[in-house]
């Protein structure tokens, strides 16, 4: 697995983490290129199903990041998101779906360096964990079985 390069999707809010990641760029800080960002207006907009869709489409890891509590551009979106993630994480843990593959973080528009850290730490962790075989199998194995007609 030494040459395994994980695919990591980042779901970030426009006002804090996206801007923070812009600052990482402006500051020319380097981080792993495995992470690709999808922009949302607010963490409150991020549907938990999208995380599953990312795994189903082959992501090995996920980062979800937005404004620090109290800093939400829309006042409360991140607070709602927080409750949503608490519940989601508990459910995933209960079902044995590995939440160590998801990094939840608050990265503000000023924390360009933190963004680089979050990315690098996540990529290193996922690289060690290897590809997310069990979720991929969930999607692929069943199709193969159906092709074989049971």
């Amino acid at each position: 697995m030494s040459d395994f390069e994980p695919k990591v999707v980042a779901f970030v809010c426009n006002w804090c983490t996206y801007a923070g990641a812009d600052l990482t760029g402006t500051s020319r800080l380097k981080y792993a290129s495995n992470v690709k960002i999808i922009r949302f207006p607010c963490t409150g907009r991020i549907d938990f199903m999208l995380l599953l869709k990312a795994f189903a489409n082959g992501a090995d890891g996920i980062i979800v990041s937005g404004c620090h509590p109290n800093d939400c551009h829309y006042t409360s979106g991140n607070f709602h998101a927080k409750r949503r993630w608490i519940m989601f994480k508990e459910l995933m843990d209960f079902m044995g779906i590995d939440m160590n593959r998801v990094t939840f973080s608050w990265v503000s528009a000023a924390e360009g360096a933190k963004w680089a850290e979050v990315v690098n730490e996540t990529v290193t962790r996922i690289r060690e964990m290897g590809p997310y075989v069990s979720y991929k199998e969930l999607v692929n194995k069943t199709i193969e079985e159906e092709v074989k007609n049971e």
Partner: protein, 336 residues
Amino acid sequence: METTRKLIRKHSLELLYKKLSASNKVYAPVTATDKQVEYKYNPPFSDVTFDHIRSTLSVKNLVFPKVENLFIFSNSKTESSITDVNLNLLPNVVLWGSHPCDNAAFDILRSIFCWDINDEFFSKRLEKVTVIGLACHTSDDYCFCTSTGNAPNSVKGSDILLSKLSGGDYIAEFITAKGSSILASSPELFENETEEKAVIAVVNTKFSHEQVTEKLQTAFEHPFWVENSLRCIGCGACTYVCPTCACFDIQDETKGKEGRRYRSWDSCGFGLFTLHTSGHNPRHVQSQRWRQRIMHKFSYMPDRNESLGCVGCGRCSSACPVDMNISEQLEALQNI
């Protein structure tokens, strides 16, 4: 045609099972940990149950899987190409120990899938199936096979029908050429029939399906439907466990450039089933959907497909979370 009847000892049955397992996939019922009876491929003989009344699901998935690929496609910038599923690669399957009601369902399914044009996904699968049925020696209140023209020891749909003898051995009745070929290939396992009688469950007739069909001709607007379906919660349990329900959906699924078109089980119990894009729904309330299910099986199918759409297995009633008992309702319908 006069059928051959042979005796097969319990231990020979095991030998037969093992022999068949070596060259086929054998699909046989086992009792799962949670008391549910489910069919599995090639389970150890010791796990196979001979005493179940009914499995949780029917065996229709052998010929009508819950998900089935219709073809594989591939998309490029402007082109698309289609690759067929090779149905010839389907394995031979021996369906072992299924009851006469489930076996009778194959003909009914054929009347749906092949009534007009031949659905080769269904028919090719059916060709590959050899049915070693097992006559019922027990039954329960949900059973009503005798009301639908079946019987606990009906040979309909079976290639071989086993019946349990009071001593624990079995009578094997060879009904079709497929069945006889098994006898021909393993004559050593069978003995001649004795005087011992088979134990056959008693299932009382609850209604006359002919009368029900007759009544339904004019019952479309009857208040019966609303009154008797108020407690129906609109799930698809009855249709999915049913051995003869064959409604399906067709969907696409892609991953990157590749994808497949498949069909999957669908249920007339769902509102979405008939919902138009405009939001209009011809069957917009549950009573209409419940009516559709009964009408389809007991009126439309006798009319269009020349077969009754029900084998009287009672699965839909036992699976129903709110006790929508179909034989009770049919009994009532007979008398409206």
